[in-house]
Point group: C2
Chain length 296, copies 2
């Protein structure tokens, strides 16, 4: 097992100006695993209900599921996006089985070289990384809810990972500054070697002790559903790192571009529909678009 | 005369969380001319009062002022920026002499190879470009006020220029779409060969019939006063184009990066203070930073 991904497994009802889906497969762990799957087979750790439909189970079957517990009902999220597609508005959240999620990593997972802690309770992130043996390269994602409600646990978790990733609003909120460059440098001071700030359509920023990288956004004319794009970005990034086994800053730059390629494909359709139409060859074509659009 | 710049000449009172200035030299024509001056001596066309202080006249003396009319009081703008520095809030605007501005280009200006129509009334922009002889390369800047109040004149002006530049909010407003890539392509349909969308800290996008370029933002930890950064960006861009005489897409990409270098220097201090401390060598150093932060 090269890569373990911990995160939510969910059923989503999503409405955007371009349509809607009900009971679609979702969750941070699922989106990240799907993105990582372009490069290798990840081991997913999470919890889902016994109500998961057969067609979703088929998609989940592409991942190693030894770390997935099944009981009760699946986590359910209902939300919508308005015209500008910038922010998900939640209508309803039912935690269901996720409320009792207590990750116990299978023995084979504990020796993974790469660990992705998807957006969940930072106490669960800490509990998970405490089970790892050896010295895995750990990427952590988080969100505004945990910054407000569990700041101390989150700070402790961030201090123990190699790379922290969050979106621009979350970085500004956590570091209490409107300036993203300052926020990125302050996040480095919390402990990680690398910090990635996601900026949606504007791309992403990478901060390290000696470096700074600004990745452009992929030029999308149609965004049908941004749900899971951030998780796909992070999953694609760590998937590429795990496949290449190279965590140099130079390779993390490439990994960020691959993550952006996959996230952009994800946003072009609802839920995980893009997986049906996009293969690694098309991801590589998007990578070449990135090379072209930043040349000067 | 290689480059003519048309725009406002003003006295600004600006307050930001980092300090304030009163009666500072400002205006779209002045900022653009100062930026272009890194590359060549521009001819400024505008109107100012007889109240312009001697120290400001010294700075203006770096430009060719044959096209500048002097009467009454100088245009005055008073505004402030809040914590996030994203948007200027206007407290007071006194048009003064600018209310009667009717640009008559000196004979030598009408044969310029490059013309920058800074952010002013689109009817004045049309009147100015109608005086040009030959086939100059024309760049036009605008703002939300003209999009709301003079949409038809603005559309006519945009159809007659080579490159239209505006910020992301203005592009979304004019094209009535939240998607910037779509807005950029729609702007091309209005007539110009090139469209540049400024995104502030997130950089800029260039659209052309066959190309797309995404320029990163310069990584600034301190923004003291964003006033004039957009004008400086456009002025630096056309200044570089006028100096090199090359309007290929490839060279416009470089020009956008030079414009970004100068705009970032502008935003690091109030008014035109940066001109005292920054020379072309430092602009070149920023250019190299751009090369480094975009490499993957």
């Amino acid at each position: 097992m090269d890569l373990v991904i911990v995160g939510s497994i969910g059923l989503d009802d999503v409405k955007t100006p371009f349509g809607e889906v009900k009971g679609a497969l979702g969750g941070s762990g699922v989106y990240a695993s799907a993105a990582a799957s372009f490069f290798l087979k990840p081991g997913l750790t999470g919890i889902m209900g016994i109500d998961m439909p057969a067609d979703h189970l088929e998609i989940l079957g592409k991942f190693d599921l030894e770390g997935v517990e099944r009981k009760d009902k699946t986590f359910h999220w209902e939300g919508f996006y308005e015209y500008d597609m910038n922010e998900a508005k939640t209508i309803n959240t039912e935690l269901n089985s996720l409320a009792s999620f207590n990750p116990i990593l299978p023995e084979s997972y504990t020796k993974a070289k790469f660990l992705f802690l998807g957006n969940t309770d930072p106490d669960i992130q800490l509990k998970t990384l405490g089970q790892m043996k050896g010295k895995p390269f750990i990427v952590l994602d988080t969100m505004n809810y945990w910054i407000s409600s569990k700041r101390e646990s989150l700070a402790q978790a961030i201090s123990r990972v190699n790379l922290a990733v969050m979106n621009e609003g979350e970085a500004r909120q956590l570091m209490d500054t409107p300036n993203l460059v300052k926020a990125g440098r302050m996040l480095l001071d919390m402990g990680p070697e690398f910090v990635v700030i996601k900026k949606g359509e504007h791309g992403a920023l990478l901060f390290s002790l000696n470096g700074f990288f600004s990745a452009p956004g992929y030029p999308l004319e149609v965004v049908k559903d941004p749900t899971g794009a951030g998780d796909s970005f992070a999953g694609g990034m760590i998937g590429y790192l795990a496949k290449t086994g190279d965590t140099s800053e130079q390779n993390i730059r490439k990994a960020i571009i691959y993550g952006s390629c996959i996230a952009s494909a994800c946003a072009e359709d609802f839920s995980l529909n893009y997986l049906k139409n996009v293969n690694l060859k098309e991801i590589e074509e998007r990578y070449h678009v990135f090379e072209e659009i930043r040349r000067f």
